[in-house]
């Protein structure tokens, strides 16, 4: 069967020359380019789209604007997509979701029958007796909950992000938004006009604003041509502004792109959300909002099967009725919940067209047709008092019901900005108040509904925006709108329930009332207890009814009750677009290619990659042993470029270091290095490095690879307070460094053409020099982290490769061997050097880790001094010591605990097998009473195997420090 569509002017959005097709629920669906999945389905008279969350009731479209959750469908890639938002042309396979069996025959629909045993919050009342049973019930309940099925195999699609800036962002391109944009642009502002629909014009494209539908098309054409002519308006169509964040920061989703808009002023012209009437079975497929019927006719040219009934709470619904009749839909009746129309001409016009109007009446119950999946008839009852009905007036056979209980401002974006939604009970009218600075409202969201007034309100917003931008603007026009759009009580409780307040969560009138009756009186507690408004449509169609019901149940007004907070986003938004493209920066030292050529096994060190050792991971132990051997007996070389580098220059450089680090630096001679320990204000050791004094007013300080950014930041922060005369620059990337270590390291440097006298007398341990190696300028420090004669050469990064190549070729004669960071860890452990961050934790103070010697007691101040003194005056609670045990014992791992009399007293921080010492050696925190060399400690290793280790004086290797001072 080919889709039956109306001719133009109906079907503005579809291209009748471009048929498209896709599969829905196993059947081929045909539609046209421009159709959404829903409109194509409705074009084939298929109204069953999905199953509801709790009772698995059949559901069809409600708003046709992508604003409700009744049309959530599944595609092969993604669950939970609004079928209105899916272009039919882009789809191959679409299916309903949340069913067992098939969409038409969902076996979970049994839950609908059991509904009366499942009152609101039923899961709080059962499933936990006897103790332990819940876990079994939970598994079942989890399966029936949830909606679609995530496809765990999909990979993220490409999506990107763009920043946009404008003077005025106008959200909503209906008559109000366009008028606002035109006015602001005419006054010289740069305007961004954002609309979620693929067209401009908003309600002008489908809604008639008066009995005679004459001005609509003319006005639409006029506004669109003015828009096209305006130079400084950029229109973003098909773009959803999904939130308002502080300072007018707007995330706008357009296609596969997230636009991040920063606006000076923000005009919300987001219109209103039409509200459903609450009666029994108001969720049966075929029951839609009036605006949905209008969209279906005008946008998609689909004229549904009749007969139809219109259920009116305002005059607007009569306009829908007229539109439907004009389009050829058979209208069985208009049922008006009011005693009369506000505009008598409307009732007369329908009477003229032979349509029966029932006044003071409502649809009290809807019935499914024989299939059980589509509207078959409605029962019309007289209304006696608010919410109470009298006798059955008529049963009307119909396949379609269009309803309108009123218009609620599309308040979401305003509420993201902290605005409050007020409700005037007597007039059943809304007002948004307490708007953030620079946010303006226009049109429906401002509770203005007649076309002339909407446009004038838009122009006024444009003018106000201009004034906010300090641009001249005309005086505001007077805006009046006397139209009453909201019925005060469109809620009809039925003894058998199923009058849905919240379609997303399958909540009926009694569920809301019972929540309050149980004591959950606050609207927020009602929300949390009943889950009203927590579904995908975020309460767009349930908030007002809930507020009314709670107000009535707790003897308050709707204003006092309030509505629940609207939180971002406005509509569900794809995570992929928020994530965007991923950038994972990795830092490589200038020697990276050299390491890889040498077969290094690279590991992460912060954002850097460093060689762990050179060789295959499978031969890790052998590689590390060979590298260590080379350093201990010959010479090795390691890339230490990742070490942080900070250059400090100025008359106060020494004073600054003296305040930052624990040691004394004022009297440090030029040409000498000093160990620099940094403590936090809590007295905890947080970083260390070496400070080299290159000149009176020039220090070069190293910091740990992962700590340097924090150290540099802290230095800047402190100096912002101290205002010393010192310039601080981070030069980590500007300089690269290698450490040449081992008894033959001096030979290598000499052979490489170092222009210094390298003798121990001329260049002793802990000295620093500026020199040239084969013409390459270097800063050389004689430091010994690994415990051998060694030289750390710092070189401008551009020359790092030349230096490395030169040292390696000069070193070839001495069998120089590159070594990695894991080998270095072993070597420094043998030498008893701690690594800050590995052998210290968030509580380690200098006294615990053997750094008392690095604290200057003479100077008046350093960062953390007060805390360090207090901590070091207290009895030690633990102490970091060296321990050793036989190579044949189970090797303790870092993180294993030290146990004393059954209690935890400390933990292992470093532990390696030392081939040099033929022992397992390590560092551990132990009880202070066990800290003396010779004490036995118990370490609990894997599988709770306890081993005894012996505390050993540090360093393990070369206790007399002879080798590094050669």
């Amino acid at each position: 069967m080919s889709p039956r569509r109306l001719d133009a002017p109906y079907g503005q959005l579809i291209d009748r020359d471009s048929p498209v097709e896709f599969e829905f629920d196993g059947e081929l669906i045909r539609g046209y380019r421009g159709d959404s999945v829903v409109s194509a389905l409705l074009g084939e008279d298929r109204w069953l789209i999905s199953r509801s969350f709790k009772y698995h009731r059949p559901r069809g479209p409600l708003s046709l604007a992508g604003h409700d959750a009744n049309t959530l469908v599944q595609t092969p890639r993604a669950p939970n997509q609004l079928a209105e938002d899916l272009d039919a042309q882009d789809q191959e396979i679409v299916s309903g979701q949340n069913f067992l069996g098939s969409l038409r025959a969902d076996r979970y629909a049994l839950l609908d029958r059991l509904g009366r045993f499942l009152p609101v919050g039923f899961y709080y009342r059962a499933f936990f007796k006897p103790r332990g049973i819940w876990r079994y019930w939970e598994a079942f309940i989890r399966k029936t909950a949830g909606l679609g099925v995530a496809n765990l195999r999909v990979k993220p699609r490409y999506s990107d992000k763009q920043y946009l800036f404008c003077d005025v962002a106008v959200v909503g391109a209906g008559p109000a938004g366009i008028s606002a944009a035109l006015t602001a642009a005419a006054g010289g502002a740069e305007v961004l006009l954002i609309d979620e629909n693929p067209y401009t014009g908003g309600a002008l494209t489908y809604h008639r604003f008066g009995l005679e539908d004459v001005t609509r098309e003319h006005m639409l054409a006029q506004l669109r041509s003015s828009l096209a002519a305006a130079a400084n308006i950029r229109v973003l169509s098909g773009a959803t502004c999904n939130a308002w964040f502080s300072d007018h920061y707007l995330p706008v989703f357009q296609g596969e792109r997230l636009l991040k808009v920063r606006a000076n002023t923000c005009i919300l012209a987001t219109g209103s959300s039409e509200q459903p009437v609450v009666f029994r079975n108001n969720d049966v497929p075929g029951i839609v909002l009036c605006s949905a019927l209008e969209r279906l006719l005008l946008h998609h040219g689909v004229c549904p099967e009749g007969p139809a009934v219109v259920l009116a709470g305002n005059d607007d619904a009569y306009l829908t009725a007229l539109t439907a009749i004009d389009a050829g839909l058979t209208l069985a009746a208009v049922v008006d919940m009011r005693p009369a129309t506000d505009n008598p001409a409307l009732a007369a016009a329908l009477a003229e067209r032979g349509v029966t109007c029932y006044f003071n009446a409502t649809v009290y119950e809807a019935h499914e047709d024989a299939s059980g999946l589509r509207l078959g008839s409605v029962d019309v009852y007289n209304i006696e008092t608010a919410g109470q009905v009298g006798a059955l007036t008529a049963r009307i056979e119909c396949q379609l019901l269009a309803m309108s209980a009123g218009l609620m401002p599309a308040y979401q974006l305003a509420c993201h900005g902290g605005a409050k939604l007020e409700y005037v009970d007597e007039k059943a009218a809304f007002a948004l108040t307490q708007l953030p600075e620079g946010m303006l409202l226009a049109g429906g969201v401002n509770s203005i509904h007649t076309l002339e007034a909407v446009c004038a309100d838009g122009r006024n917003a444009g003018r106000q925006a201009l004034r906010a931008l300090s641009r001249p603007a005309d005086d505001d026009e007077a805006v009046e709108c006397a139209l009453r759009v909201n019925h005060p009580w469109p809620i009809f409780k039925h003894p058998r329930g199923r009058e849905f307040v919240d379609f997303d969560e399958d909540l009926q009138v009694k569920d809301i009332i019972n929540s309050a009756r149980l004591g959950y009186r606050d609207i927020q507690l009602v929300k949390r207890y009943s889950t009203v408004g927590m579904g995908p449509s975020q309460g767009r169609h349930s908030a007002l009814t809930t507020a009314r019901l709670i107000a009535q149940a707790t003897d308050r007004t709707v204003s006092e009750t309030g509505v629940t907070t609207a939180r971002p986003p406005v509509k569900p938004e794809p995570l992929g677009l928020l994530a965007g493209r991923r950038f994972h920066p990795v830092r490589k030292t200038p020697l990276d290619s050299r390491h890889r050529a040498l077969g290094a096994h690279m590991i992460p060190a912060g954002s850097w990659r460093r060689p762990a050792f050179y060789g295959k991971p499978s031969q890790r132990t052998a590689c590390i042993a060979a590298e260590a051997q080379a350093v201990r007996t010959g010479v090795g070389i390691i890339d230490v470029s990742t070490l942080g580098g900070i250059d400090l220059r100025g008359p106060d450089a020494a004073e600054f270091l003296n305040r930052i680090y624990t040691y004394g630096f004022l009297k440090q001679p030029v040409g000498k290095t000093r160990y620099a320990v940094l403590t936090s204000e809590q007295g905890v050791v947080v970083d260390d490095g070496v400070a080299a004094r290159l000149a009176d007013e020039h220090f070069y300080v190293t910091a740990t690879t992962t700590g340097v950014d924090r150290v540099y930041r802290d230095m800047l922060r402190w100096n912002a307070q101290w205002r010393l005369s010192v310039d601080i620059a981070q030069v980590t990337s500007a300089y690269s460094a290698v450490n040449v270590a081992g008894p033959r390291s001096r030979d290598v440097l000499e052979s490489a053409g170092c222009d210094l006298d390298l003798s121990a007398e001329a260049f002793p341990y802990l000295a620093c020099r500026e020199a040239c190696v084969g013409g390459i300028p270097v800063r050389i420090m004689r430091v010994g982290f690994v415990g051998e004669l060694g030289y750390e050469l710092h070189v401008p990064s551009l020359m790092a490769q030349s230096l490395w190549d030169r040292l390696l070729s000069a070193g070839a004669a001495f069998d120089i061997k590159p070594f990695g960071v894991e080998t270095q860890r072993l070597l420094r452990l043998e030498k008893g050097h701690i690594i800050v961050g590995q052998d210290t934790d968030g509580m380690s103070h200098p006294g615990e880790v053997g750094l008392e010697w690095a604290i200057s007691r003479k100077k008046p101040f350093f960062v953390g001094r007060r805390s360090v003194e207090i901590l070091m005056a207290q009895p030690l609670k633990r102490q970091l010591v060296g321990f050793s045990l036989s190579v044949h014992a189970p090797q303790p791992k870092e993180g294993h605990l030290v146990i004393r009399s059954g209690d935890i007293v400390g933990n292992v921080t470093s532990c390696e097998v030392s081939a040099t010492l033929n022992q397992i050696v390590g560092l551990a925190y132990v009880h202070p009473d066990d800290a003396l060399p010779g004490c036995d400690i118990t370490i609990r290793t894997d599988d709770a195997v306890c081993v005894q280790a012996t505390v050993v004086a540090l360093p393990f290797y070369d206790p007399q420090n002879e080798r590094q001072a050669l």
Binding site: P79, R157, R521, L578
Partner: protein, 415 residues
């Protein structure tokens, strides 16, 4: 179907046979034995144990907004005890034990769901720290172990083990890790407390703390002045502000903490999964929503506004961990205010003001401590100020004495 539900089939009106969960509003009395400021989980839990264990029922819980509407409502309901320090592990383990029996104790299902919590290590340093946490946990009887990539892949097959250039090296698998319906915990306590005579006053804001001769005498509220013998403050994010009204400072800094959920999908993720390096955690609720959360915002702020940059970075991390999440839809985003201490442990016990007790500094770890916190605070009050051993390490004076309980490494991003 459980038989307990059959009675509801009789008609619309329920409950028939019992009083409401929460009584309606009443007038404030002139005097109470105990005033608890803050009607969140901690406040009502303390009231509950005061009434149940100690027979102290002349108690008013004063809440400026509505029951459990602060961080009790905003947290992502992670329950765990895999901390680093013995003090922390002992305390949170006691809490987990209490959680396990709460539903039956309340006769109200808090939907306690022991799914296990998996934290991913991407660096050597984290592996070392995790091993230590596993060891400390096991020492105190917790079920925690360090597991390798293969075991991780078996536990969570849909997890990307090589996210963001940061290969997963190992995981800390905490079998006791659980979640529960956070609101139900507050409601269960409030219900049990009010049934025993405790008064819960919502929309009642404390604006001043009245004192004489160094001890508290009452509170001033937007509904008038109330006298009392003892006050407990349990106001989470606003702890420092309230303490200032009582005349002393707390070493707390307030940071916003954000979280978000997606639309619900059918269950695919059982454990609670977090990454130490990506600062992101992901879990699936009983309703099927995916909850995504992470570290606090990097600046202090007394505002529960949500922000775009944090949403982008958190979701990017979540998509790194579970690439298919890119096709899921985000439903809601929110924020709470966390009161952070320097050592990531709470402040509990006595204050400089006599008879004025502190329950503060709960940062991102408040929900999981609700039961044990209520129980120990009630003991503290009932004993007239004898601090129970379990919470002695968390005294305010530890900051002056330099005896902090450092949980920083065991808290970031796993909550």
């Amino acid at each position: 179907m459980p038989l307990g539900l059959l009675k509801y089939g009789r008609g619309d009106d329920y409950p028939y046979e019992r009083q409401p969960d929460l009584p309606g509003p009443t007038e404030l009395k002139d005097h109470y034995d105990v005033v608890i400021i803050g009607g969140g989980g901690h406040g009502v839990a303390t009231a509950y144990y005061l009434a149940k264990h100690h027979g102290i029922t002349n108690v008013a819980v004063l809440e400026k907004a509505y029951l459990g509407g602060g961080n009790t409502a905003r947290n992502t309901a992670v329950i765990r005890s895999n901390y680093l320090t013995p003090e922390g592990v002992r305390f949170y383990s006691a809490s987990v034990k209490l959680f396990e029996g709460l539903a039956n104790e309340f006769d109200f299902n808090i939907m306690y769901s022991q799914r296990g919590q998996l934290t991913l290590a991407h660096t050597d340093a984290t592996v070392r720290a995790f091993r230590q946490r596993a060891e400390v946990n096991r020492h105190f009887g917790g079920r925690t172990e360090l597991i390798d990539r293969k075991s991780i892949a078996e536990l969570v097959p849909c997890l990307n083990l090589d996210p963001a250039e940061l290969p997963v090296l190992a995981g800390l698998w905490h079998k006791d890790g659980a979640t529960a319906r956070h609101d139900a915990v507050a409601w269960g306590y409030a219900r049990g407390a009010t049934q025993r005579g405790v008064e819960l006053h919502q929309l009642t804001e404390v604006t001043g703390i009245n004192q004489a001769a160094g001890r508290v005498t009452g509170v001033t509220t937007n509904r008038g002045t109330v006298g009392c013998h003892t006050v407990i403050q349990a106001v989470a994010g606003h702890s420092a502000i309230l303490a200032r009204k009582a005349g002393f400072e707390l070493p707390l800094v307030a940071y916003p903490l954000q979280a978000m959920v997606t639309l619900p999908v059918k269950p695919f993720l059982n454990p609670l999964v977090s990454s130490s390096a990506l600062h992101c955690y992901v879990q699936q609720t009983g309703r099927g929503e995916i909850v995504i959360g992470g570290g606090s915002d990097p600046y202090p702020l007394y505002s529960s506004r949500a922000s775009l940059p944090l949403k982008e970075s958190l979701i990017a991390s979540a998509v790194d961990m579970f690439p298919f999440l890119s096709e899921m839809r985000l439903l809601r985003q929110w924020a709470g205010i966390t009161d952070m201490t320097t050592d990531y442990s709470p402040i509990m016990g006595v204050s400089p003001l006599e008879n004025y007790y502190l329950d503060a500094g709960w940062g991102t770890w408040g929900f999981k401590a609700t039961p044990i916190c209520g129980q120990t605070m009630a003991q503290l009050v009932a004993s007239g100020g004898q601090v129970p051993e379990l919470i002695q390490p968390f005294a305010l004076e530890r900051f002056d004495r330099f005896q902090q309980v450092n949980e920083m490494g065991a808290t970031a991003a796993s909550h």
